[in-house]
Amino acid sequence: MLSVIIDEIKLKADKGRVLLSGINFTVPQNSILTIAGKNGSGKSTLLLTIPALLNEKFYSVSGKILFEGKDVLSSGNTELENIRRNQIRYVMQDSANSFNPLKKFRYYFEDILKDKTSQKEASDLFDYFMLPGIDKIFSLYPYEVSGGMAQRIGFIFAFLSKPEILLLDEPTSGIDSPVANLLLLKLKEFASTGNNCIILVTHDILFAEKVSDRIAVLNNGRLSELYPVSEFIQNNNEFSSLY
C-alpha cells in the first residue's frame, strides 16, 4: 500500500529565512491532494521539496518525506536518482521550458515507447488530449509548438511513464477549458487505478474542488487548513472567501 507521508517539514533558505514550517500530511494510495494558496505562500516550494529537488547548498530541510518506508530526504544520490527516475513524475508549471528546444519530441519518448502496446497507448493519449497525430508531433522541435501544446505533451509523458507519485504544478495555467476538463477526467481515472497518488498545486479552485479528495491551504509557509472537499465547500474558510 503506497502512501506519501510528509512529516514535520521545515525549510530554511540560506539566510535563515523560514520558507516552510510544521507541514504534516499524508496522501493515501489512489487519492488526489490539492495544495492551494496565494502567490508566494510556498506551494511550489513544497512540491519541489517532495522529490528533494532543492539545492542543498542554499536550502536546509528537516523532517521526513516517506513513501514505501523510504525517507527521500536522507537517501543517497544513487537511491534518489532511482526514486526520481522510476517512481516520481513532476510536470512543471512551464512545461515548454522543460524540454530541450534543440531535440525533437521523438527523443524524449524513445525510451518509453519500445513495444507495440505502449505505442498504442501513446497515440491514444495524443488523441485524447486533442493533439495532432503522434508522427506529426515527434517530428517537431519543442520551440515549434505553443505553450499549451507543450504542456499537454508534458502530461502525456508523465502518464506514459506510470509513476507512483505524480506531482503537477499549476496544470491548468496554459491550457484552455475543454482540455482542462479532459485533464480532470484523466487525472481521476489515473488516480483510481493502480498503485499511485497525485499531489497538485493550483489557483483554479473550481478545478481543485472537482478533482481532489482533499484540499490543503498554505499560508505564509504554514499549512493553515486541510479539508476533505465536501467540508471545504461548506466551511466559509479564508481561501474560499477569495472567490
Partner: protein, 264 residues
C-alpha cells in the same frame, strides 16, 4: 456612442515566406467584421489557436490584413504624436520590459515621447507607477529585478504613460492568483473610467470576462461566432460552441461530450 474601431470583412493569411513546408498557409482569420464603440470594454474569448492574438495584432497594425479594412477613428491630436494610438499589454511581459533600465526611466521616456519631447508638468512617472499599485522601492529597480506580476504592472504603467485611445490586453490574468486577479481587474476598470480608454480584453476564461466586460465576442477557428451583450450571452448562448465553452469551464462535461465539438 461614437465608433472608435471598424473592421470590415478582414481576412489574414500568413505570407508564403513564413511557411516551413513551402506550401500556402491556411487563413488564420476569416471574414472578421466588428465595431467597437468609444469608451467601451469588450471581451474576446475563444480557445487557443482560434486567432484571438492575431486579431489583436491586426488591430494594432503590427500585421496587415490580406483583404478587408481596419479603420481607427482616432482623434486628430495623434497626427502630431509619434506613438501608436493602439497599445497592447502582451502576454509575455518579462520579455518586453528592458531588463537593464530602471522602471522609472522607462515610464519617463514613454511620457517624453508622448509629449513630443517636451517635458510635461501634468503627469509624473511616480504618479503613474503609484496608480498601478507598484511599491515605491520598485521604482528605481531594473527590469530583471522585478517579479512576473510587477513586470506586468510596470508594462501597464508604460502603456498608461502613452495614453492610448485603445488598449488591448492579451491574456492579462494567465499567471495571477485569485487575489491579484481581482486587484488587476479593478485596475483595468479604473483605467477605462478615469482615462476613458477603450479596452479590448482577450482571455480564454469566460467567467473573468463576465465580471469585466459589457460586450463579448466569441471566436472559433478564426471566425466570430457570437457577439453581443455579455450578460445575454451568458444567460442564453445562441451558438452551441459558446454553450460548450461555458460548460467546459465548469468542468461538468463528460469525455464523449468534450470530444463532440459543436461546429454548427
Amino acid at each position: 456612442m461614437d465608433t472608435l474601431l471598424e473592421i470590415k470583412s478582414a481576412c489574414y493569411k500568413p505570407p508564403k515566406s513564413f511557411s516551413m513546408t513551402g506550401e500556402e498557409n491556411e487563413a488564420i482569420l476569416k471574414n472578421i467584421s466588428l465595431t467597437v464603440a468609444k469608451g467601451s470594454f469588450t471581451g474576446i474569448a475563444g480557445e487557443s489557436g482560434s486567432g484571438k492574438t492575431t486579431l489583436a495584432r491586426l488591430i494594432a497594425g503590427l500585421i496587415k490584413p490580406a483583404t478587408g479594412s481596419i479603420i481607427l477613428h482616432h482623434s486628430d491630436e495623434w497626427k502630431s504624436i509619434h506613438t501608436n494610438p493602439v497599445q497592447i499589454l502582451f502576454q509575455n511581459n518579462g520579455e518586453i520590459i528592458n531588463p537593464f533600465r530602471r522602471i522609472i526611466d522607462t515610464v519617463q521616456e514613454a511620457l517624453k515621447i508622448r509629449n513630443n519631447g517636451k517635458p510635461d508638468s501634468a503627469s509624473k512617472p511616480e504618479e503613474i507607477l503609484k496608480f498601478v499599485n507598484l511599491n515605491e522601492d520598485t521604482y528605481t529597480k531594473k527590469g530583471y529585478q522585478l517579479s512576473g506580476g510587477e513586470q506586468q504592472r510596470a508594462a501597464l504603467a508604460r502603456i498608461i504613460a502613452a495614453m492610448p485611445e485603445l488598449l488591448i490586453l492579451d491574456e492579462p490574468f494567465s499567471a495571477q492568483d485569485p487575489e491579484s486577479r481581482i486587484n488587476l481587474s479593478n485596475l483595468f476598470t479604473e483605467i477605462n473610467r478615469k482615462y476613458g480608454t477603450t479596452i479590448i480584453c482577450i482571455s480564454h476564461n469566460l467567467q473573468l470576462l463576465k465580471t469585466l466586460c459589457s460586450r463579448l465576442i466569441v471566436m472559433y477557428k478564426g471566425e466570430i461566432i457570437e457577439a453581443g451583450n455579455c450578460n445575454e450571452i451568458f444567460s442564453k448562448p445562441t451558438h452551441p460552441y459558446t454553450e460548450y465553452l461555458l460548460k467546459a469551464e465548469q468542468y461538468s462535461l463528460t469525455y464523449d461530450e468534450l470530444k463532440r465539438i459543436p461546429e454548427n
